[in-house]
Amino acid sequence: MLSKVEAITPPLANKGTVMKWQANWRDYVVYLFFAVILVIFGFTIGDKGFLTVANLFNITRTTSMIAIMAIAMTLVIAAGELDLSIGSAAALSALVAALVIKSGYGIVAGALAGLISGLAVGALNGFFVTVLNIPSFLVTLGSMQLIRGLDMRLTYTKPVAIADETFNTIFGGGNIGPVPSLFIWSLVAAAAGHLVLRYSAFGRQVLATGGNPVAARYSGVPTHRIKLYCFLLSGVAGALAGLLYSGMMQTARYTFGTGGELAAIAAVILGGTSLFGGKATIIGTFIGALLIGTINNGLIIMGLDVSEQNMISGGLIILAVAFGRRPSR
């Protein structure tokens, strides 16, 4: 087409990579933090069992549900929205699945019913946000409470036991070799989430929608539909987390996932995703979730009680986010 003319700016080849690293090291602060925490805990409580393989797998087991919710939350936040109802959706799915299995319809029907309940929560949120244009913070603040109430009402707050061995092994209890199946679930979710966000058209549309909705629309991105899909995905991820909770506990309780939405948001933000949308990383989120799990685990091994755990893990989250903040220009 056009002939090449002399370039105004010098080539960036080598200089560019250095500058990029300098500009973006804050995006990777979660990895640094994770490494530092591992080293500190390794030295201080390594001999108290922190460094055993069993304990490290235990961390991955307990963070799996938060990680899965956080991965979906990454997409929701990347699209410039928020989903506070994801924890309530987890308990709903657990109870629905347990009730269906208890009624003798089998575990496939049970798991499907659980996932569909999550889809319904996502559809509800998506409808109010994209059709009625209500801010998602408000919509999901409401649905968080509404669904939690429904969870309690469903069995009058009674737990529902799940007697099916296969269900409990697949979702939660089992191991594949030495690796807990819960860890496998979260790894698969992270891999799928990463591929979708980074390499699919849908992921690109999510980032464009959150980065500048007007520009996205002008480029032909159906921003409302993209947001709706994000909420559906978030509902399903919450539901999957619910199945995993119930498989691990061999019981479904209305309390599952309480506060899970906040832990998930913390993991997302720690991981380097922008709360304002448009910039997101699934791997960062996954590490963020592991970081939170590791901190909690280490503090327990140190013998701190819950009040002290809360103060320290809360403080560390603020510290990590402050480090990751881009200086304002």
Partner: protein, 499 residues
Amino acid sequence: MHAMTSLNAVELHAIQKSFAGIPVLKDVNFSLRKGEIHALMGGNGAGKSTLMKILTGVYRRDSGDLFVNGQRHEFLTPRDSEAAGIAMIFQELSLVPTLTVAQNIFLQREPRNGFFLNDKEAVRRARELLLDLGEDIDPETRVEDLSTGACQMVEIAKALSKNAQILVMDEPTSSLSEHETATLFRIVKKLKENGISIIYISHRMAEIFTICDRVTVFRDGKTVLTDECSNVSMEGLIEAMLGPGRESSMQWQERAINKNAPVILDVDKISRYGKYNDISFSIKAGEIVGLAGLMGSGRTEIAQAIFGIVPPDAGAIRLNGKAVRTTYEAMDAGIALVPESRRQQGLVLDHSVLENFMLPNLARFANGMFIQARNGASKVVDYIDRLKIKTDSPNKSVNLLSGGNQQKVVLSKWLVREPKLLILDEPTIGVDIGAKSEIIEIVRTLANQGAAILVISSEFEELLAMSDRILVLHNGSLKEQIDRKQITSEEVLHHAVQG
């Protein structure tokens, strides 16, 4: 179809368009030859942007014909226009800041590998497009890290990647540095050599004479001039834009200036990198000074500096001899600013007239810890009366008022402080003619009472009606100070500002 159309990339015949019964385009004819750069000029409200929105499918014309490459088009949506090879270069609107250059260029048209996006291919193609433009912008940089000039190159690359043959550029140089402008011109010429046709909207005549082939001038919704640039002079263009023998609705009244009045504002060699450079001037009590310059000449930034919003990198600003560095100090010293954007900077839109009125004056209306709305209410009624603000009550939300009345609310919240220096940035933009002359009258009264006034306006008529003295800014430098008496006509000021 007549023979002419086949030569022209775009041909518009007798286009008419009204909004709510008010005609904006009355009878517009415009043609763009293939491979030409065609300048479009006209004052505010002349109809340029409406016509471009019709061409890009944002608005539909009421009547008239639109041809692209000889083919008649309807253009129901922006997509239709895009499909016909027309692209508009926006400055910010159409890029996603958090995505990379390559991701932006190919958004929604990404090269793929089956299900997955092929980012490597996108980067390769983006680099090729940018290098063809002569720009070595890294396609993997995020757009938010680019300068305005580089963003524009990305916009152009994006348009070219869609095979656009006709580009519309709206004031493309208004926020570019001199260096970036030179780059843009080189690229625009390159595009022209490759047969791309360009509509170039600008107020900068020097630019138009440098790179455009032809020029069309609009006035009051009509085409008043189309000619080769080599056939017209700057005087001719100014005359075409202003129209013959206009009766100015706003007459200048020479005011008696007390030569011995004390200096109120003293701006001493202030500079801010890339915005303005080594600016010094002063304003005496009772004096109205106009600040004239094109968009991007640094006029708004200077107002912001004086009010302490974005302090200068170097130099000093003094009010009555006291240094002013922050907005707090500025307000404390008696400076008030009626900002450029009334809806974003001037008012809290959802709040009432009373609340907006009280906002900068809370201490004045408070009794100890608590705000006494009663004190504010009695005062605001006074100002509603004096400034003739049309509102049912002081409790009416300001977003329900007309532009002129909103602007009077902004004025009232500062007037109650009895400012020693009032800065007005585009005080009558989007204000009807009645309210406009009232606002000018309010400003004159304030000056007569001894306040110093600094007015910024792109409407020269307004500047000339108010000012005792006019400062001319050019590319961030103070080019000259002209006594109002020496300015015999609007044309003189136009000349000065064009540089």
